[in-house]
Amino acid sequence: MIRLEKRPEASQLMSYASPLIAIVLMLIGGLLLFAFLGKNPIEGFKVFFINPISDLYGVSELLLKATPLMLIAVGLAVGFRANVWNIGAEGQLIVGGIAASAVALYFYESEGIHILILMVIAGAIGGMLWAAIPAFLKTRFNTNEILVSLMLVYVAQLLVSWLVHGPMMDPDGFNFPQSRMFEDPALLPLLSDENRLNFAFVMAIGALLVGYVFMYRSFAGFQMQVAGYAKDAARYAGFSAKRMIWIGLLSGGGMAGLAGMSEVAGPMGQLTEHVSNNYGFAAIIVAFVARLNPVGIFFASLLMALLYLGGEQAQQYLALPSSISNVFQGMLLMFLLGSDVFINYRIRWKEATA
């Protein structure tokens, strides 16, 4: 009989190995899924995981998709480390995108670098404002931040829907629910002429570095880490729980808002109802798979971006709905959480007679 036995101490090795185990299990799950759907599993695997990055343009698209994920995940990780559960990054992204678009439209037909700078600031502030609602309600009334931040996702989706159907609709757009296309001064500069990768990728790398310094080299980051491991110890040491809640939610919100800005000023070039492609939720998975570590977030974002691109390929070449990406994402997180048991426990085979 199989039995779980508590390890004397947590296994360092397993805490790094379990994301890899989860990825392998996800791939096996994917092969079975393709087979179950009557597709050749090997062919499906190739279309989903290899084709998207088989040329340089594909790799640039991978980095483009990974950019918002990196931004959001590093912001969320700051809060998750202190058990501040901001689940509403999707909504914060949308509001950030709205704020940045408002700046872009306000400066329509004018020039200058200040437009982009203001868009960055507006995006981050928009996301922070949306995250400030659960932070305020949590610190003031002790309201559950998970449910509040999540409810605000739906509100944000309705808000953007109203704006692109109303005040921010393109006046020359034949009533399509979308804003004007932004002009060049409101678009992030491309990194090369060959592809769509833009300056947001540089911001994302910068955010990962800043996140790393905050988490591992700052006192506030240390406090939040302590609070995550042992709430009572943190309180005994006099660390302010309210301050951590604010930092945790605002960093996630700000980064998500920035991601919203990078979408409207990047690949989309306008505000539509579909500002986000579920990035806010996918980034939660990224943060977990990455063990809330910025280096891990870099790689986990690439993996998650590959799942997005694979879904698009599967739609095109295998006639499967692109929501297959979400299936892979959900499987990955589930497998990860399951295999994490081996960090603290090990398997013992016991005689059946016992």
Binding site: R3, W85, I87, I133, L137, F141, N142, T143, N144, I146, L147, V148, L150, M151, L152, Y154, V155, L158, L159, S161, W162, H165, G166, F281, I284, I285, F288, L320, P321, S323, I324, S325, N326, V327, Q329, G330, M331, L333, M334, L337, G338, D340, V341, N344, Y345
Partner: protein, 310 residues
């Protein structure tokens, strides 16, 4: 106000509140055993597509409800293995279940997006249904509406009047004490979690088979999360779940009537659609302001993993 309008608002409120009652009561049982499953949204979505697909193919809505129930149980079983046997974090695992369920339902449901099911007739209770205003709303309803009332009565009896209910609550308060006097805490948590999943599946199937009756990706639109919020709002008491669900049902239908009333009200529809979500936040704030009520009523071990010392 015209009494026929009042009557139809009441009717629609009861219908809109019904899936919330079913799902929230299921979650209530799981939470009473100490398991917080944030995957209700995903389980509902799977219940909705399973119920829709089976009803479409079989032509029998009751097979559809059973299929929805089975899908909910299957989803909650995954969750139970991960959090109860493998002792994973309940918050993260519940989220994963929501993401998985919403994604998987969209994936499975793609071919069904243009289909429509025939409307299922209501069950009319003679005499009572002839009462003015409340007659139709209460006694000329879908079978699952009556089911939700039976569920409420059954769960109230189970929790407060039956021995298994007492054991369930004991496990939720202190799994180690319950374990030490010989109850199998993990097994009880498994059963409670599966029951929560079953009810989430039925609630989802109600949406796609009886309420709309069609399948659209994302059609659960937060009802699973609202059901979880309802349990907190109700401070884990079944009667308040019932009241809360109808309050939310009322908020959900009010916008339809405002839009359909022909009144010259200059409010964009999106603002009205946001009302249920805003109402959820408001009630959560009201209930959580008073920490003592929440602390006194919340199962003590809610969300905590338990592992018997072998």
């Amino acid at each position: 106000m015209d009494s026929s309008i009042l009557s139809s608002i009441l009717f629609a409120t009861i219908v809109a509140g019904t899936p919330l009652i079913i799902v929230a009561l299921g979650q209530l049982i799981a939470e009473k055993s100490g398991v917080l499953n944030l995957g209700a949204e995903g389980m509902m979505a799977m219940g909705a597509i399973a119920g829709f697909a089976v009803t479409l193919h079989s032509g029998n809505p009751w097979l559809g409800v059973l299929a929805g129930m089975a899908a909910g149980i299957a989803m909650s079983f995954i969750f139970a293995v991960v959090v109860l046997t493998l002792m994973a974090n309940q918050v993260a695992s519940g989220l994963a279940l929501s993401i998985l369920g919403v994604g998987l339902s969209a994936f499975i449901g793609k071919p069904y997006e243009s289909e429509i099911l025939p409307t299922v007739g209501a069950i009319r209770i003679p005499l009572l249904a002839d009462l003015p205003i409340i007659g139709d709303a209460l006694f000329n309803q879908q079978a699952l509406v009556y089911f939700s009332w039976a569920l409420f009565a059954g769960i109230t009896w189970f929790l407060y009047r039956s021995r298994p209910g007492l054991i369930l609550r004991a496990v939720g308060e202190s799994p180690s004490s319950a374990h030490s006097i010989g109850y199998h805490a993990i097994k009880i948590r498994y059963l409670a979690t599966l029951f929560g999943g079953a009810m989430a599946g039925v609630g989802g199937a109600f949406l796609s088979v009886f309420y709309t009756p069609l399948w659209v990706e994302g059609m659960v639109s937060g009802r699973g999360w609202i059901a979880i919020a309802l349990v907190v709002f109700a401070t884990w008491r079944p009667f308040r779940v019932l009241v809360g669900a109808y309050l939310f049902g009322g908020v959900m239908v009010v916008q339809l009537f405002v839009q359909g009333s022909g009144l010259e009200i200059n409010i964009p529809s999106q603002f009205l659609s946001a009302l249920p979500y805003l109402a959820t936040i408001v009630v959560l704030v009201i209930i959580s302001r008073d920490q003592n009520t929440v602390r006194l009523n919340a199962p003590v071990s809610l969300g905590q993993p338990f592992r018997p010392e072998a």
